[in-house]
Amino acid sequence: MYAVKLNNLTKVYGKDKTVAVDNVSLTVEKGELFGLIGPDGAGKTSIFRMLTTLLLPDGGSATVDGYDIVKDYPYIRSTVGYMPGKFSLYPDLTVEENLSFFATVFGTTIEENYHLIKDIYIQIEKFKHRRAGKLSGGMKQKLALCCALIHKPTVLFLDEPTTGVDPVSRKEFWEMLKRLKEQGITIMVSTPYMDEATLCDRIALIDQGKILSIETPENIIDSYPDKLYAVKAENMYALLKTISSYDRAADSYAFGEYAHVSFREAINEDVVKSYLQEKGLTGIELKPIHATIEDCFINLLRK
């Protein structure tokens, strides 16, 4: 039995029938750390809300822990953990009060499941008498995670938990997720950050409500079809313009301080360099690179 199973799940909004989630099918194994990767508006939150029984699907079906998300919603509600994208704790209650409130709401106590949250809670424990609204972004996320974990959920749904959190806290957060996974909790997490995708067991790339690919991050990277190069020149704008009209290059886009350029076939680096020089570009740098998840995502999008 899968921890989460989606079968052609569809969600349509409003009178103009905007399709937010379009026939999405996927499965998440027990104990897996599954990532839903996609830009804002891809439909990640809608999927999470349907799985946590907050929204009714307009088509298809899904189960969580074997329970149907429509019919068996009370069962799902008492077993899963959910952390919505927006900070959703009580800002006027203290850290400790928030935690003990959610523990009680879920019919448990902090003491009973302290072992689950210990690693995380220990980092914010010294602020336990501070009001939650006065915490920093990273600490708020940690507290929210504690609150979502306190009842020992079988499946944990985290909707963009690291959005708006600094890089160091983000890294810490993912380390915590790994430790939770080791305790056997199935985790389904969504993020718009491509670099976080490699930290998942498997990921689904999603855009405009459609799944582009479901694979392990390694397989997604390995299946990148083209040869990828990072190119740099003094005039980046001219470089991008030149390359986009270069018929050998399959695709090109700005990527940090470099431009990523993909080629269908193996190329001779010198040929490309001299072509660019001919076009009047100077300070050219060209090096083969491994595709990142983001490159794969862009590649899938362009198809």
Binding site: R49, T52, T53, L54, L55, L56, Y73, P74, Y75, I76, R77, S78, T79, V80, Y82, P84, K86, F87, S88, L89, Y90, P91, D92, L93, E97, S100, F101, F102, T104, V105, F106, G107, C147, A148
Partner: protein, 384 residues
Amino acid sequence: MKCFTNSPGALNAEISMKQFITFVRKEFAHVLRDRKTLLILFGMPVMQILIFGFALTNEVKNSAIVVVDYAQDEASQKLISRIEASRYFEVSKSAADHNQIEESFKEGKVKLALIFPQNFYSDLMHQNKAQIQIITDATDPNTANTLANYVTAIIQDYQADLNQNASLPYRIIPETKMLYNPQLKSVHGFVPGVMALVLMLVCVMMTAVSIVREKEMGTMEILLVSPFKPLLVILSKAVPYLILSLINVASILCLSVFVLDLPVNGSLLLLFAESTLFIITCLTIGIFISVRTASQQVAMLISLMGMMLPTILFSGFMFPIENMPKVLQVITNIVPAKWYYIIVKSIMIKGLGFSAIWKETLILAGMTLFLLIVSLKNFKIRLA
């Protein structure tokens, strides 16, 4: 909602109770930690009682009155000098006619006019009775009534003195005319009115806003994805405001008894029981608003516009319902505050018992039940 009762790990009653108490404590924390809420909750009733109270209990010392003496005889002179001697009045004599009296009333210079007809003394002596006219400016009914009573008392005093050595009693018949507000709507009506207004505001607005806030903050999402019963969310929101509102009722009553000298003539217990019923009515309205709105601003606006205005306009507290057009009179029937206002007035001022107000109580209870069913039917166990 049936399936909640047999959900897995079936939460027994003890856990439910513990959850409920924790939730109620959380609600109290929200209220007590927010100074603005506290101010609205407890400052507003006190302010309203004091403002209304002192606006309506003007000092009646040294009120300007005008005397029109068409008689100019022994009796009228004696009466006028008695009135002049009293510390309540500042008499300005005027030989003028009625029209001028009307003018000075409109300018607000005088509060009361006393008119002696011609042949006042001879009527009194020969027919044993004479008339005297008292005209007051009843835009402020409290003052008008008090002044008229003072004048009447002085006249009766004089009459009693006359009668000491008379074989046949002399009677001076004061004919009192309350200008602008002939019905003299109950002067103490404002305390029941303020009670209705305050409870309406506190219960409806606070409950609506506090539920909608959970939606807005996203905490409702977490609460929904929990074994906590949605019904309990609503109940735990209502209980703190019920308690706080009862405290408000008590403080309003204390103020009116000790500061405004307006005693509770009827049963205090009955008054509290009826107030509890009205509070529950208001809470269900608040819950209903919260179920239908998504932002705190909208909830607050609806509570204010949709509840406070009708309460002020149609409860009969500010404007007499009898004077309204028929259509509006019918509309007042759906305003819960109207019934509560009648109930409180009956208990507090008239000192009546339950038998006098069972009909109003029944109407209020019916409204509550209806609103409760409608809002529970509308309560969403999911988002959107």
